[in-house]
């Protein structure tokens, strides 16, 4: 059976390389739990998009590419989470959202970040200032020190990027 064969391939990849990947991640992250989680995630990615490798070097190069992406993903998530919690800490206790609500907000922030991450900085900022802050183009233009006309171009560029991601024409960030 084909699926049985694929499971077999993944199984042997796992037993050959999991230990190596875990150590690779532990060196990068300096944390055993994170390393274990990401090593696991990397193999899940491999399951979702199976590849064939003609050598151990090929397999390890591919796994380390996935793992690096996952590390960056993790670092960004942590940075967003930290910035979010700092913003929350500045507010009165009474206005703090529930743990569940925080989790939803954070997950949404991660998704939005993954969507806009690869955009040039000004384009990304213009898009977020518009979409999240509801700022007018002329105010965004003043904030970023460019013309209003340029903001319109940034908006089209940012939206096209998001549309292409959605249409599957671009690789999502962190995958």
């Amino acid at each position: 059976l084909q699926s049985g064969g694929r499971a077999q391939v993944i199984h042997s990849l796992y037993s050959d390389h999991h230990g190596w990947l875990y150590r690779f991640l532990q060196r990068k992250l300096g944390d055993a739990c994170d390393a274990a989680d990401l090593a696991h995630d990397a193999f899940l990615r491999l399951l979702a998009r199976p590849c064939e490798f003609d050598s151990d070097e090929g397999a390890r190069a591919y796994l380390s590419t996935i793992a690096r992406g996952l590390c960056i993903d993790l670092w960004r998530r942590r940075a967003i989470e930290r910035a979010y919690l700092e913003a929350l800490a500045g507010q009165a206790e009474a206005t703090h959202p529930s743990a569940e609500h925080r989790a939803i907000v954070l997950e949404t922030l991660f998704q939005i970040d993954a969507m806009v991450r690869r955009l040039p900085e000004k384009v990304r900022e213009a898009f977020l200032l518009y979409r999240l802050h509801g700022m007018a183009y002329k105010d965004i233009a003043a904030e970023l020190g460019v013309s209003t006309r340029m903001i319109k171009r940034y908006m089209a560029q940012a939206m096209l990027h998001c549309l292409l991601l959605q249409a599957g024409a671009l690789e999502p960030a962190g995958k």
Binding site: Y84, E86, Q111, H133, T148, M159
Partner: protein
């Protein structure tokens, strides 16, 4: 149409060109300088091809990702969080912006709402809709007949005890079917209309809505103040979320559109042009020196160019086309 439908773009993946145009439209309509003419051209672009509508659905999907951060710009927590965002270093600015919003868990459409983007997007995702210049009739599941006027949209939300429809945009003529067990109501942002009779027209404007009753009676209940008034057959009334105007006689022009006719009963030219412009993509305007000319007649809405030609024959006016989608009625030289 539910959010889950929106998150599943149609089977036809739009091509690059349509996506690019959709992104351009997003940028044009998001601007505080966007005009009605822009919005009409956008509508025409949507109407042009199925692929364009699919591409616009992708734009909507991107918007949905942001919608989890619910709108409530007035919350003081937002302002505090926004100040916090301004203190972060520029390297972390994006994160700060994200976090500030997340921190509040608030804010949302903002500028997009100003541009009416959301409403337009809702309109084209509605159960029943018409494009600019289109007038169509539909039969609802209970046998009720509706006529949707140009650029209109209506959602149907029938339940076990109430046959509710929501007028998302534009104008509708309703001829209700009998159902003793379930009353029939139309929702607008300004209030709910409950049909006690059978034939009436509801139209949405920017800040208010109007009701004209041709058979039976209809009750208006305003959305905010909860005021109510029963409008009798042969009467019309306008209402906002707070107030209801006193009923006036309903004009026969009010339902003529359902037969594809525009009836001008001694009305100023500007009013006729205003009505006519609803049926044409692009801008249609009228110069001030001819605005008050009086017009009488019955015109076919199917061909607005022909109506303009007829006006040119009957009145001391000339039709000036500056651009393909920009038409002005001016005084004859």
């Amino acid at each position: 149409m539910s959010a889950s439908d929106l998150s599943q773009p149609g089977a036809h993946a739009p091509g690059f060109e349509s996506l690019q145009q959709a992104a351009e439209w997003f940028a044009v309509l998001g601007s505080e300088d966007a005009t009605d003419a822009d919005r009409q051209r956008w509508q025409a672009w949507l109407d042009e091809r199925r692929e364009n509508r699919d591409a616009w659905r992708y734009v909507e999907n991107v918007g949905l990702q942001f919608d989890t951060l619910q709108p409530d710009a007035d919350d003081p927590a937002v302002k505090r969080a926004l100040r916090a965002a301004n203190r972060v270093t520029s390297r972390r600015k994006t994160l700060g912006i994200l976090a500030a919003i997340g921190g509040a868990g608030l804010l949302g459409w903002g500028a997009a709402e100003r541009a009416g983007l959301r409403r337009m997007a809702l309109a084209w995702a509605a159960d029943y809709r018409t494009g600019v210049g289109e007038i169509r009739d539909f039969v609802l599941p209970d046998g009720t007949r509706i006529w949707l006027n140009t650029a209109s949209a209506l959602d149907e939300d029938f339940g076990p005890t109430l046959r509710l429809v929501n007028l998302v945009q534009g104008e509708v003529l309703i001829e209700t079917a009998k159902d003793a067990a379930r009353s029939f109501a139309v929702d607008t942002p300004h209030g709910r209309l409950t049909a006690l009779g059978t034939r009436f027209v509801v139209r949405r404007f920017d800040g208010h809505a109007s009701l004209a009753v041709y058979e039976g009676r209809v009750e208006i209940r305003t959305a905010e103040s909860g005021r109510s008034l029963i409008v009798e057959s042969g009467e019309q009334a306008t209402f906002t979320a707070a107030e209801i105007g006193s009923p006036q006689p309903a004009t026969r022009a009010g339902q003529a559109w359902s037969r594809g006719m525009l009836v001008a009963d001694n009305i100023p030219l500007r009013q006729l042009i205003g009505e006519l412009s609803r049926y044409r993509p692009g801008h249609l305007g009228c110069a001030p020196e001819v605005a008050e000319l009086s017009v009488m007649g019955t015109y076919s809405l199917a061909d607005t160019d022909r109506v303009l030609a007829l006006l040119e024959d009957a009145l001391p006016v000339r039709i000036r086309k500056t651009l393909p989608w920009w038409t002005t009625v001016v005084a004859k030289d």
